[in-house]
Every structure is written in structure tokens, then in C-alpha cells.
Subunit: 151 residues, 4 copies
DNA sequence: TTTT
DNA sequence: TTTT
């Protein structure tokens, strides 16, 4: 079974970083991927998709330190959907849980970085406790190669 | 900007195929990707994600003819989210609009293929008219190579 | 930096499995991906690419036990090139070092599985000792999710 | 069958652009993807892979105009291997024929751009006429969506 | 031959 | 809400 998402786009806002009671970091942000195309009259159009990104542990720490509104990032992850209830209505959120991140905005660049503290209550997607899957790429022990190859 | 999803999983049901007024085919189905892992007590667990797949034109026609419940398919596409109103409530659906499909269940295989007609009312995701993006891989004119290479 | 290869094709022969002096397993095989297209005269053509696949450790063990000539597999990995000398001539081989493998041929299927022992000398690519990179997906400790999410 | 390569790295040199007798543009360059890891003694190491990239038609024209040594690009393409004879010895080259390219170095950036004319004779990989496959993403007519969706 |  |  394969479940892989590859995105390269820009952050709509600074990441929001929280920690679990055990101190595990979780960062969330939305990422825009825009596509230019021509409509049937030949006029140039742009369509933007917004993706909910979730990063755990090491990746969340990196996001907290270095990622800002407007920054360009490459994300590789898994598509996941979770549900929660709001005002008695069941809602679904689809998120991309990142396992690889690559920051593409040069340091000192982008500016942006609004340091206004996040609102006390988040948008619906993140309002309810629910398990979410993740793998942090940077924590994976790099499989070092044996020196004694058989070929 | 890159927006790519790669899935390899099994169909939860037979595809549902509709046509626009212009006769353009659209197929939809949900696709399961399961992941086995061990929980913190070391017990094997399985977690299944369900993905909403949308195919247009040629890919929809192929799906209509050959895809059945339980079949294994490889899908490459784009992540898209659209919204609709239901009972006065705005709802969001995230879908994968396929541009490449690869059927992995050998012909005559899989069985399954429940021919029970689909319910009169679909799940929320497909209940409302909304524009959705798509590219059908098979309709792309294969770029044939010139014979007179410069190297 | 991103270096990712995604292949879905068929094994040309049974895998060849070796072990380093430390007992680490390495499996190699070639994988065919075929593409159908029409030439400029509209005649259907097929073009097959052969890829050198390398699997380490757990993945190699799985390949040894379950993979056979003709089997269909999904492979995700890294593109790597290494060089070696043969008869005083420097040669280069490009390989895909897998970090994920998904076997798509149902058990008992495929047939094929020629049990003819591999030739004493392999094709050039695997004739010389050289370091090769790898990560075995199955050995990665699955990042279990904390129960105490902050949202 | 799936044959996909995804790379994000830096150009080692300016692209070399040629044209076939029919005026079709072909650009080639090598792309570095570097990976940082720690060796078994815990010392940080870097390993760089060099990939041979080939772009056709529209993508080649874009590369010619905008890509320079050192620039960062995202490439999506196919793995292909071709052979040629040199001094009576058969040689193989593995290339990535791009079908999507995304330039990630901001305009006016990178500088580099050594305008030293390319040597009269290229490295072995490009010395011999051979057919190579390609699809230029930008030439694909964007599948416009019908307004009359059936759902 | 690149980049961080 | 981003970016080109």
C-alpha cells in the first residue's frame, strides 16, 4: 500500500506550534500550491489549492525555528483524514502528515514572519483531540553501509 | 508549484460513473490504503485511510469498464478541495483527481464486483455540483521523438 | 535536496541475494517498466526500460523469500551511480537503491520463478566491490503517535 | 507501469542547449542532489549524486533562457538508459528525461552563469545520436473542466 | 560540476 | 492565507 503526497508551495501564514503533554512538538500550517492555466477562452487563470500540513517532533521544531509566512517548502508525506464533532455535527479534515521537509527560501529571505501570537482557539481542523499519524524523517537512524560489500 | 499524490490501494466499491450534459465521463470511487505498524505495546495494528478518487474522460471510461470493488490500482493525481452547502452548512471534500491510473488486478481476478446499484443519494462529497480539475493522461499526445537528435 | 525514484514494473529474473561478511543481505535484480505509445505513423509501439534495483537488509531478505522472475513490484528509492574498473576501463552503473517495496503479484501467482542458479559472474554492474547507499523501510521504528495531542 | 523520478537539486553548470535539424530544442545539464548523514563514528558526512538531465522542446527553451549554474530546480521525469559505442566499447548512460520543471532560484539570484562557450565535443553521454523519450509538460493542453458537472 |  |  502506498500513500504519498508531494507538495511544493508557499506557507499562507507562520506555522502554529503546539506541544503534547509529553512535550512532543506538533506544527501545523497551510500550504498553497498554485497552478496557472488558460480557460477555454484562452485567458490566463490561476487556481490555488490550500493544503493542511502537520509536522511532528523534529520537523515541527525545525518549522518553529525557521519557517515563516510566504516561505517556499517542499513537503513529502501521507494523506490522512480525521473527524471531529463541532456543535453536534461531524466534520472531516484531510491533512498531509509530513515525513520530509525541505526549506527552499534562502535564509534572511521572505521577511514576512508576522510574530502576532496565534489566536486562543484554532480553526475547526485543529480544535479536537484526535490521533494523527507521522514519521519524522530526521529522526530515522541513517542506515550506514557496511564496508564489506559482497559485490 | 507541485501538487502530486501517489496512491496504491484497493477500491472500496465499484466505481460510480456519471456523465456531464456534454457527455464527458466522470468516475468516482474510494480507495483504501492500509498501513501495518506496531503500537507502543508492540502489538500489530492496521490503520486504513480512505481516499476520494475522481477520474475524468478517458480514465473514467476505463474505470467504468474494468475497475471493480476490491481491485488494486495505482493512482497518480492532484490533491484538490472543493466545498458545497448541505442543509445550510458549508462542507468541504478533499479529493484526488487522477491523471494516471494503473490497474494491478489481473483480468478475471478480484471477483467482488458487487453489482448492487449505488444508493440514490451519494455520500456528501458528491452530492453537489461544483467544478473539479482534471487531466487525463491517456489523452495527452505522446511526444514522439525526433529522429535527428543533435547528440 | 530530494532524490526519489518510483517504479512499478516486473522482475526480469529472480533476485540475486548476497551477504556481506557481517551477514548483511543485499538483493539485486533488474526491473522492467514498459510504456506503450504510438509512433508518428500511428503504429502502436512499446518501449521497455530496465532498471538496476538494489535492496538491503530486511528488504533483501523479503526479496529473497518472496520475489520471483516476472513478479510485479512497486519500488521507491534513490538514484545512485557508482563506478568500478573493468579491464582497465572505468565503468559507471546507475542503480535504484530501494527504501520501500510493495509486492503486487498475488502469492502462488506469477509462476516463472526459474530456479536455475545464477551465473558465477554477474553482469558488470555487480562485479566489483563498492559502497552503495540504502535505507530499509521496514527497519524504521514506526513513529507511534502520542495520545495526548495538543489539538 | 510506472517510471518516475523526482529530483530537487542544483545545476553543476549552465545547461547545454542544442537543436535537432528540425529545430527542436534539447537541453542537458547535470544536477546535484546532496545528502547529509553521520557515519558510524558520528561524524557528519555529505554524499552528492550527479544526475544527467535531459529536457526537450518548451522545457529546453525555458532552461536555455533562465537556468544557470548553481540554480536550484525541481525536476520530475522518467529514468531512461541508452547506449552508444566509443572506441569500440559499448557504453551506457542513464538519464532523467524531464517532463516537469520548477525553477526555485529567484530571478536575479544565483549569478554564476558562466558564459564560457561549451566545448566542441561533449562528454560521452551526449556524443552519439540516439532516440530519447520525452514529454514537455507545458505543451500539454490543460484539460479544461466542463461547467456541467454531474455531481 | 552544485548547494547548505 | 501564499507565491509568480
Amino acid at each position: 500500500m502506498v500513500n504519498k503526497v508531494i507538495l511544493l508551495g508557499n506557507l499562507g501564514k507562520d506555522p502554529i506550534v503546539r506541544r503534547t503533554e509529553n512535550g512532543v512538538a506538533v506544527a501545523t500550517f497551510s500550504l498553497a500550491t498554485s497552478e496557472r492555466y488558460k480557460d477555454k477562452d484562452g485567458n490566463p487563470q490561476e487556481k490555488t489549492e490550500w493544503h493542511n500540513i502537520v509536522l511532528w517532533r523534529g520537523l515541527a521544531e525545525v518549522a518553529e525555528k525557521y519557517l515563516h509566512k510566504g516561505d517556499k517548502v517542499y513537503i513529502e508525506g501521507k494523506l490522512t483524514t480525521r473527524s471531529y464533532e463541532q456543535d453536534g455535527i461531524k466534520k472531516y479534515v484531510t491533512e498531509v502528515v509530513a515525513d520530509t521537509m525541505n526549506m527552499l527560501t534562502p535564509k534572511g529571505g521572505s521577511g514576512g514572519s508576522s510574530n502576532i501570537p496565534p489566536p486562543p482557539m484554532e480553526e475547526p481542523p485543529y480544535a479536537i483531540k484526535t490521533p494523527v499519524g507521522s514519521t519524522v524523517n530526521e529522526e530515522i537512524p541513517p542506515a550506514t553501509e557496511p564496508d564489506d560489500l559482497p559485490f
